[in-house]
Amino acid sequence: MAEVSPILEARGITRSFGRVTALRGADFAARPGEVSAIVGDNGAGKSTLIKIFSGALQPDGGTLLIDGKPTLFNSPQDARRHGIETVYQDLALASALDVSANLFLGREVRSSGLAGKLGFLNDRAMRKQAQQEMADLQIGLSSVRQPVFTLSGGQRQAIAVARATAWGKRVVIMDEPTAALGVRETQMVLRLIKRVRDAGTAVVIISHSMPEVFEVADRITILRLGRTVRQMRRDETTMTEVVAFMTGAAVEKLAEIE
């Protein structure tokens, strides 16, 4: 199987907060049409790493490459311009607004002509596109005009994912996308992740749940104490091995290999 070259790649990323070193050499790669999971114990630096990918934080050292070219993101807007979208853990949805308004929040569609220049919204176009997006991802909603506060946790997660995939045509990053969900809704979101992947997007997820990682991920990157200890294909490893690397039980073995 030929290796697809990564869209998003990190080499030797370091980042400290005052005296606390969160990352001390993190490597990572995300390829189109693949789900890449980042796993690690608490404090391994997972959240810091994805905040660097989404432009919310800047690295102290190391290189971030987009399509093989070194790139610097100064803000989430910079990352977005490269087609990278993030689903934050708190989802960043405005619950008082309807589904369509949330999908287009910060990127509202204007009316044509003078009305558009005056800042008038083209809600019809937004709703139509929102409906299309819901249909493409097979998210069943009775209406895109429903306010988000009327939706369940899984539905809200689905809306946040839909917003990210609607704009992030290349990379979608999800921080613990199923953390707050029940079993049925988790299954729904995992299917959604696979659909996004099958559409050719590179999906990056952080997860604590090993069964979930092994269900959706194509590749697994293991962080430990701010360093990437292993990057491997899911079908080349086992849950036991991954947990061993996460907790440090397999570090000696790794050192011998190197």
Partner: protein, 362 residues
């Protein structure tokens, strides 16, 4: 670890299917259920005062004119306040900013209309330019106060409550200082050109109504359109619903909040100009509770103090309630101070109802 369950297809349905009769849907589409109730309360209040007032004096043209006139002034403040409260903010400075805007406008008019001697004796050789400069000064002071509120809230990240309370006090003090330093003597607002009063005050009644009523109505229509149909309105709701989420979604949150306070300051300045034209002077102490009347109008009108929801239609109806109470009490011979008592209680009750409703929906 429990094994992943059988992957049965999950059909997503609305968490709580909205149960609504055709009548309810019609109300929601037209006026909004809350606004309809408030309108009924307003009509009931007016009917009540009309029936119990001696000779039904409440139900008289001149009384209604005063009610509409006062409500129109409250409405100007309440429109700006509606935008602010939808962003989950608050502006406590509107009343004293109104006052200092009016005082500044009067002062500038006095300085530019003629010599001090001419002005004190009621002659205004350069009335035309003085009126224009005075209006610019009044609006400018309103804009400036709004900008100060907006900058302190967004840049220094201070709570809106404290910032606008501070500006409330600053504006109050400055109004006193300007009026007591003027050429017209101690603690006096200089006279304003008659032409100004005639154009914007009681001298110019169209269909029996003062200019202010048309200006307020126009402002309300524009505000309603902006809030419901434009990017600015959409983002006002978004910021109030989830500030951090809006920021992460690419909404320029700080700029937006700043502009909302600037708008509120501008509306206060505008109200100050019309207040000056109506009374040809400014009641320095008489505007310290305007902020509560404006906030009452907004929260009675169904705008949530927690942010994210609200409407101008509700605010328009709500703006009448404090005024109707004041005139109703006055005609009954009840001290108008009772209006302050009742408005205070209404605000508390309205916010309580809002909180209960909110707990049900989230």
């Amino acid at each position: 670890m429990s094994a992943p369950t059988q992957p049965e297809p999950v059909e997503l349905r609305p968490a709580a299917p909205p149960s609504s009769s055709p009548l309810q849907r019609w109300l929601r589409a037209g006026l909004g259920a809350n606004n309809l109730y408030i309108l009924l309360v307003l009509i009931a209040l007016m009917a009540f005062f009309s029936l119990i007032s001696p000779n039904h004096a409440f139900f008289g043209t001149s009384n209604f004119l005063n009610i509409v006139w006062d409500s129109a002034e409250t409405l100007l403040l309440a429109i700006g306040e509606t935008f602010v409260i939808i962003t989950a903010g608050i502006d406590l400075s509107v009343g004293t900013v109104l006052m200092v805007s009016g005082v500044s406008a009067a002062w500038v008019m006095a300085q530019t209309a003629g010599t001090p001697a001419q002005v004190t004796s009621g002659h205004f050789p350069h009335a035309g330019q003085a009126i224009i400069l005075g209006i610019i000064a009044g609006l400018g002071v309103g804009l400036l106060a709004g900008a100060i509120n907006g900058i302190l809230i967004t840049r220094l990240r201070l709570p809106a409550f404290i910032v606008t309370l501070g500006v409330f006090s600053v504006a109050n003090g400055l109004g006193d200082l300007i009026s007591s330093s003027g050429a017209a003597g101690q603690n006096a607002i200089p006279p304003v050109p008659d032409r100004f009063a005639n154009s914007f005050g009681s001298g110019n009644l169209i269909l029996g109504l003062p200019t202010l009523v048309f200006v307020s109505a126009l402002a309300a229509i524009i505000a309603h359109i902006v809030l419901t149909r434009t990017i600015f309105g959409r983002r006002t709701f978004a910021v109030g619903s989830n500030l951090e989420g809006s920021r992460l979604s690419g909404v320029p949150v700080n700029m937006h909040v700043f502009l909302v306070y600037v708008l509120c300051g501008f509306m206060s300045g505008l109200a100050g100009i019309f207040d000056l034209a109506r009374y040809q002077t400014v009641d320095i102490a008489g505007h310290s509770l305007d902020n509560l009347n404006a906030i009452a109008a907004v929260v009675i009108g169904g705008t949530s103090l927690f942010g994210g929801t609200g409407s101008i239609v509700g605010t328009v109806i709500g703006a009448f309630i404090p005024t109707v109470l004041r005139y109703g009490f006055t005609i009954q011979g009840v001290s108008s101070f009772w209006q302050d008592v009742v408005v205070g209680l209404i605000i508390i009750v309205a916010v309580f109802i809002d909180q209960v409703r909110r707990q049900r929906t989230t």
